[in-house]
Symmetry: C2
Subunit: 202 residues, 2 copies
Amino acid sequence: MARSGVPTRERIISAASALFYNDGIRGVSVDAVAAKAGVTKRTLYYHFRSKDDLVAAYLAARDQPNLALFRQWFAEADDGLPAQVERIFRNLARSARHPKWKGCGFLRTSAELANMPGHPAMKIGAAHKKKFEEWLRVTFEAEGIAQASQLARQILLLLDGSFAVVLLHRDPSYMETAGEAAHGLIEAALPVRAKRRSRRRR
Amino acid sequence: MARSGVPTRERIISAASALFYNDGIRGVSVDAVAAKAGVTKRTLYYHFRSKDDLVAAYLAARDQPNLALFRQWFAEADDGLPAQVERIFRNLARSARHPKWKGCGFLRTSAELANMPGHPAMKIGAAHKKKFEEWLRVTFEAEGIAQASQLARQILLLLDGSFAVVLLHRDPSYMETAGEAAHGLIEAALPVRAKRRSRRRR
DNA sequence: GTATGTATACTAGCCAGTGAATATACACAA
DNA sequence: TTGTGTATATTCACTGGCTAGTATACATAC
């Protein structure tokens, strides 16, 4: 058990999350994570088999909250598919303006561990993005879009592209550009009936 | 001077390029680069002030060849803007099928060094992507596209998105999806006159 | 004989992971 | 109530190896 109310394992993951996201996987030592969690390294190794294991736990802990946030932004208003998806990009742009923002933890980790394709963290990252893509696809299909899976892939490409480009240029306006492109692609794919409906809602 | 015909400095950059691209910046030691270049570490430090300096040289050496390749793919046939840009994506998909492919060196480096925004390598990476975007914009403008800069940004987002997504899923078909999306966006932005022209060319 | 280039050998610090011991909590027997 | 065993949780101290960078010396060329 932990000294404070939070279990030790979770405190370690929190510390790892902050440090890995900020400085990258190889930029953070296990000692640093242990110190930030207020625990000795040996305790950390009691809860996690290896650093790789800890990295996987870091990403796994980000999976659900991240998806929930996207869904929440999407559902904030029922103003039509194009606007709802565009709102995800707009909110992301707002996040990206915070000075501590450093892109998508899943993508940055996958870029750093690109030479270890079988790494558990890679699998978790891939699964996370697949879930998001699948959620988009299902959502599009429910609105009667014929090429739903194609469109979902395109939106995903715009999203992940904006993570990469904004991180490089430190210019969140690219996220708004991506949002507008997504808006346009979805609008064009919408059947006429749904288009009328979305206009009414707005 | 070097033992072989190639100057020492260039051999070091070649070795660094292969290793950094494959294993990431922090995954490669200066000793490893020196060994691969067939040179002692001290010699390496004669030619480069620091590892960061070497990283910058690695990316700088990739700037022009990379852009030239894109331009070459674009110019391989004069079959209209949408098809020409889509061909860049198709060729990229072909590259991505090689087992040694590991995404875009510029993006991966920027992801790894995200906590050092002033790092010279970040500046070189940002400048590289800006050059590509600017080349697209000028090309679009020459074809009479009104929203050329907006469209150039969208294509860039699709391109960098496909680097990220393909690296994560190891599925180059996303690059073809991105190419089709780019094709569609450009076609829609083309003035009627140019559209007819591009159809004729095909 | 000075500038360029290369090599040997070194330092000081960091890193992932471990060995051995200890502390706490709780179940169950006397 | 007290004693004892066992699983969980934690600590201190350590190792062997790697890492970026350097002090010094030697070679070669013009």
